[in-house]
């Protein structure tokens, strides 16, 4: 029987990977999540505690997928504390996806933290098209770097380069992802830049790409209740991150008054990024 993406699937966590002291990846079997497109997210139910949006993380086993959580508030902490064998609920994947232009040859993928989750899925699609991929993984410091091995293994089959950078230079290149990007732009032409990570980082990447007239796509986050375009909590200017996004292009982003500036809290009040 064909399962609708709206059907709640209860899945068992089969494997847990500790990425950093505050980041874990939970692996489970779910055909729909396995087939998620890059940029799509799942609504993850932690029974009787919360339901939170999570990008669909890749896993190398057929039929499997994962979520990678940074421990933060109530919901993410509860998810972080699940043990192997525990169950969670899933609906989705929802949302649009990163678009790989037909004649793209060389792309730049740039992100940080759990923002790498949709980017790794993007990379896994780009590899099938045998694109030349440069991937920049940013973090504040060495102990916050994760997914490096995963990225290197994933990109091995194609012409690619994986660069790590930290704000404090404790690992890899020293500098922010935006710094690294501007260095890269000096000697390379990219058909498109793809980004996901902290909003202010993405703002920097998008502005730089727009300034250089390079196509850019960013996957954004907003507080989400329904995940399907009903409740309005994820609104970003006149768009809905859950239904019109999560991926927006440079043109859309440059017109937004909210992007990099403000988001809505749980009660719908507008809050400014500090």
């Amino acid at each position: 029987m064909h399962t609708s993406i709206d059907t709640r699937r209860i899945v068992r966590i089969e494997e847990i990977v500790s990425e950093t002291p505050t980041v874990k990846t939970l692996v489970f079997k779910d055909d729909l999540s396995y087939a998620a497109r890059p940029g799509q997210f799942l609504m993850v139910w932690i029974p009787r505690i919360e339901e939170i949006p999570m990008s669909a993380m890749i896993n190398f086993k057929e039929g499997y997928a994962a979520v990678t959580i940074r421990k933060s508030g109530v919901g993410s902490t509860a998810l972080f504390e699940r043990k192997e064998g525990d169950v969670i609920g899933l609906r989705g994947p929802y949302g649009n996806e990163f678009a790989l232009g037909k004649n793209y040859k060389k792309i730049l993928i740039i992100g940080g933290g759990t923002g790498l989750v949709p980017l790794l899925r993007l990379a896994s699609f780009a590899i099938k098209k045998r694109l030349n991929i440069t991937m920049v993984l940013g973090a504040r410091s060495k102990k916050e770097v994760f997914f490096e091995k995963m990225a290197r293994k994933l990109l091995e089959p194609v012409r690619s380069s994986v660069k790590i950078c930290t704000d404090d230079g404790s690992y890899g290149l020293k500098g922010t992802t935006v710094d690294i990007m501007s260095t890269l732009l000096r000697n390379n032409t990219f058909d498109c830049v793809y980004t996901c990570g902290p909003e202010l980082m993405m703002k920097g990447v998008v502005d730089l790409a727009n300034k250089n007239s390079i196509p850019v796509q960013a996957s954004l986050e907003r507080y989400m209740k329904c995940g399907i375009g009903i409740c309005g909590s994820c609104c970003l200017d006149s768009l809905l991150v859950c239904q019109d996004g999560t991926v927006f292009n440079g043109k859309q982003l440059s017109k937004m008054l909210d992007f990099g500036i403000s988001y809505r809290d749980k009660d719908g009040q507008r809050i400014c990024y500090s």
């Binding site: 209860i10 029974p47 329904c226 399907i228 009903i230 909590s233 019109d244 009040q269």
Partner: protein, 308 residues
């Protein structure tokens, strides 16, 4: 805007306000952002109703708050989360031409008068009083189930505004017609029917209620025949314009509500599957309808089913 309705053949009159067409956004759907209202207006919506606003900001219930049940039906217990009267009047402060009804929710006359006093100077069409949200205590349906409270609250709102007031009724434990009658007698001009119905969904694997609040409100396709019945009964028994709501997902449903007696029709849950452009699609289809049926104006069909 790509609807060319030169003859105003879709315009309808709700009390003393004229809408360019009978489609409205239901309260609680995408209802907190002026930018979204402007987008909906570009999609040819007739009018929007905001999320129900309370005096103080409300966070609402933790997630899960909205559950797609399949078959175009939904269960929700958002818990009336909203930014509160002050933040929301800032949100709407630059509104010029978007036809907005503000939905109000509260527990006491004082709260309602405070809100109307703040909102009344804004560029808005009127108010909708939510007396029918079925999953928040001391608000919504718990007020609606108490005719004395309804009477007092509607009178208070009436005293503080000359704009039209719609009262939104639902299927609670006071007969819907009785409730509407009390509201009209207290000064309401319009009745909106219906809100969601108290309902629940349990996950059989974990054996747990899914909504954090356990009980919520059923909306979407499932409730349309109940909404049609309420609109038919209210519009047949009371001399008052009625706004139909519940399970509308196509122009056919809009027509069915109007034939049952609705002057305008609110659309909610279906946005989950069809997005804001549904308003444009429905409005175009309605224009086709009036042309094919040779109607001068769509209002000609309002309440036609009462004849039979």
């Amino acid at each position: 805007m790509n609807i060319d309705d030169k003859n105003n053949s879709l315009s309808v009159e709700l009390d003393n306000v004229r809408l360019r067409n009978p489609t409205m956004l239901a309260s609680g759907i995408l209802g907190i952002s002026q930018s979204i209202f402007e987008r909906l207006y570009r999609e040819n919506i007739g009018a929007v109703v905001t999320k129900s606003i309370s005096v103080s900001p409300m966070k609402g219930y933790p997630n899960p708050t909205v559950i797609p049940l399949g078959g175009g039906s939904y269960l929700n217990a958002v818990g009336l989360s909203n930014p509160g009267v002050d933040a929301f009047s800032r949100e709407l402060s630059h509104n010029k031409n978007i036809p907005i009804f503000i939905s109000l929710v509260g527990s006491s006359e004082k709260e309602f008068s405070r809100m109307v006093k703040t909102f009344d100077s804004l560029n808005i069409l009127g108010y909708e009083i939510n007396l029918s949200c079925p999953h928040v205590s001391k608000m919504g349906m718990e007020v609606g189930d108490d005719p004395e409270a309804v009477n007092k609250i509607v009178k208070t709102v009436r005293m503080n505004t000359s704009k039209p007031i719609s009262v939104k009724v639902g299927v609670g434990s006071v007969d819907v017609i009785e409730l509407a009658r009390v509201a009209i007698d207290a000064g309401a001009n319009i009745i909106t029917a219906i809100n969601t119905l108290r309902a629940m969904s349990i996950d059989i694997e974990t054996m747990m209620p899914i909504l954090s609040n356990r009980i919520g409100g059923l909306s979407g396709n499932a409730i349309k025949p109940i909404g049609i019945r309420c609109v038919y009964e209210i519009s047949k028994k009371l001399e008052v314009p009625v706004i139909g709501c519940g399970g509308v997902s196509s122009w056919r449903d809009v027509i069915e509500y109007m034939i049952a007696g609705a002057t305008a029709v609110q659309i909610g849950s279906v946005l989950g599957s069809r997005g804001p452009r549904i308003f444009n699609q429905i409005t175009k289809a309605l224009l086709n309808y009036v042309e094919n049926k040779n109607l001068k104006n769509i209002s000609e069909i309002i309440g036609i089913a009462h004849k039979y």
